[in-house]
Amino acid sequence: MASPDPGERASRADRAERDLPPRFRSFSPASFTLLVVGAAILIVSIGDVAPSPKQMVDGVPGFGRLVGRMMPPNLDPDFLTRIGFRIVETFQIALVGTVFGVVLSLPIAWLSARGVSPIGGFNFLFKALVSLFRTIPDLVWALLFVASVGLGAVAGTLTIMMDTIGFCGRFFAEAMEDAEKEPQEALSAIGANKLSIAIGALWPDTLPSMINSSLFALEKAVRSSVVLGLVGAGGIGQELKVAFDLFQYRNASTIILVIFLIVLAMEYVTDKLRARIQ
């Protein structure tokens, strides 16, 4: 039998194609409009805030000059001592803020955890509170506390505390929601109250995961406590701001290096601790 001529083969392929689902989802007028609007917004925004080619060309040597003026970092012993004290203060802010935040997160998470909360359906109130704490950026918290309790480390500690509640409150609650239900139900059948169940069954089950989250919170706290000084809430950031304000770029480079080292060290330590509990 002779092979079918090319024309006939093509038309058979056409027919087969018709029976298949379309290759591309058809484009509705609404989604086309959305696409055009989206593209317009992007183009206008680029025009407003993206660096122009001229700025790019000027900026690179500008940045290069800045780095040049930062070198070599200032290693004067007096300056290093002052920085050392600021570093200790930064750690204190991070540590105390995290510990207070973790301790406060425990009851808040318990009250907000679905299916576990002693206040039943009203748990959403505490869920909302934790979300609120989380969505306000830490620098905004810092501004609020600097305005209310004044300049200095206390404002920083309170900021880290709020940040930690936003973070740990959420992850503690998730751990509690994921905890084994059977032991809790068994205790409830025995007649234990919610608090006994929380301490007797929920706490041991969720502890490893909560320690894990707390270590992440501490790591995060060290990173954010470094910048809190920019708005006057204590710690090493204050020195950084002073250095830039007074054009002491060699001091600034020392501080940036030190910040880099402590954040790195902190991540190393918390990683090691986390591996321990695993």
């Binding site: 032991p183 068994a186 059948a189 234990a192 006994s196």
Partner: protein, 268 residues
């Protein structure tokens, strides 16, 4: 009929109306208000009996157990357990009294895994006086610790008191759960498939232990099981559930294989 009388050590519950420890009449239970899981269950259990509930998966055995002691609200009928009569749900006082006099053993995973065996047994006393410090053996009342230790000796696990619950074998964990149920000296023990997750030897040991302790302390036992050898050997009476009602209710020795076939046959 004659056969039944000879084999049955305990007279049929109907003859001992006043003494029944549990009496369920016309019990109905629905979770969603539409489909009745239990639809007119009648059951009476006398003190000292060991009743096995059987039936296919999802027929409502666990549901019935929970209704007996007011862990679930009921949708119709009345339940009288240990002298507390209720329809819908027991009131707070009744609930407390029922909990005080009843012990439960569930199928699996009912222990707090990361806590010691002793703490888990101490948990069995929660709900009574001194509960605020009863979440761990380390903080519990001295009397609670003693009672927990004694209960552990009864299940031959005194030497494991300080092990973590998760470090024990499945059979040992189930014995801890029995100790936790026994520690409050219950009159009634409710066990939902206590041997289901255990190998044949451990399962048999656990059932043996149940029977021995129930005899020794005069505890009435109501349990569910899918193991027909267990029901024949360890129960005094077998109650089969099917389509929301009681299919048969016989002394364990009188159950024929035809009865079992009818129980598990053709369930939608």
């Amino acid at each position: 009929m004659f056969d039944v009388k000879v084999r049955n050590a305990v007279p049929p519950a109907g003859d001992r109306r006043e003494e029944a420890l549990i009496r369920v009449s016309g019990l109905r239970k629905s979770y969603d208000g539409a489909s009745m899981i239990l639809d007119g269950v009648n059951l009476a259990v006398s003190p000292g009996e060991r009743v096995a509930l059987i039936g296919s998966n999802g027929c409502g055995k666990s549901t019935l157990l929970k209704c007996l002691i007011g862990l679930h609200d009921i949708s119709g009928g009345t339940v009288r357990t240990l002298g507390e009569t209720f329809d819908r749900a027991p009131n707070a006082g009744q609930r407390a009294s029922l909990r005080q006099k009843t012990g439960f053993v569930f199928q699996k995973h009912c222990l707090v895994r990361r806590r010691t065996v002793l703490s888990n047994v101490v948990h069995g006393l929660l709900g009574g006086k001194g509960s605020w410090r009863g979440f761990s053996h380390a903080t519990a009342l001295p009397e609670w610790r003693q009672r927990a230790r004694d209960a552990l000796s009864e299940v031959s696990l005194a030497d494991k008191a300080m092990s973590r619950a998760e470090a024990l074998s499945g059979g040992q964990q189930q014995r801890v759960a029995i100790a936790r149920a026994l520690v409050r000296r219950p009159q009634l023990l409710i066990a939902d498939e206590p041997a289901a997750s255990l190998d044949p030897v451990s399962g048999r040991k656990v059932m043996d232990l149940f029977v021995r302790l129930c005899r020794q302390h005069g505890i009435t036992l109501v349990f569910t099981s899918h193991d027909m050898d267990h029901t024949a050997e360890f129960a005094t009476r077998v109650v089969a559930l099917k389509r929301g009602g009681v299919l048969f209710d016989k002394p364990a020795g009188a159950v024929q294989s035809a009865d079992l076939e009818a129980t598990f046959d053709g369930v939608a």
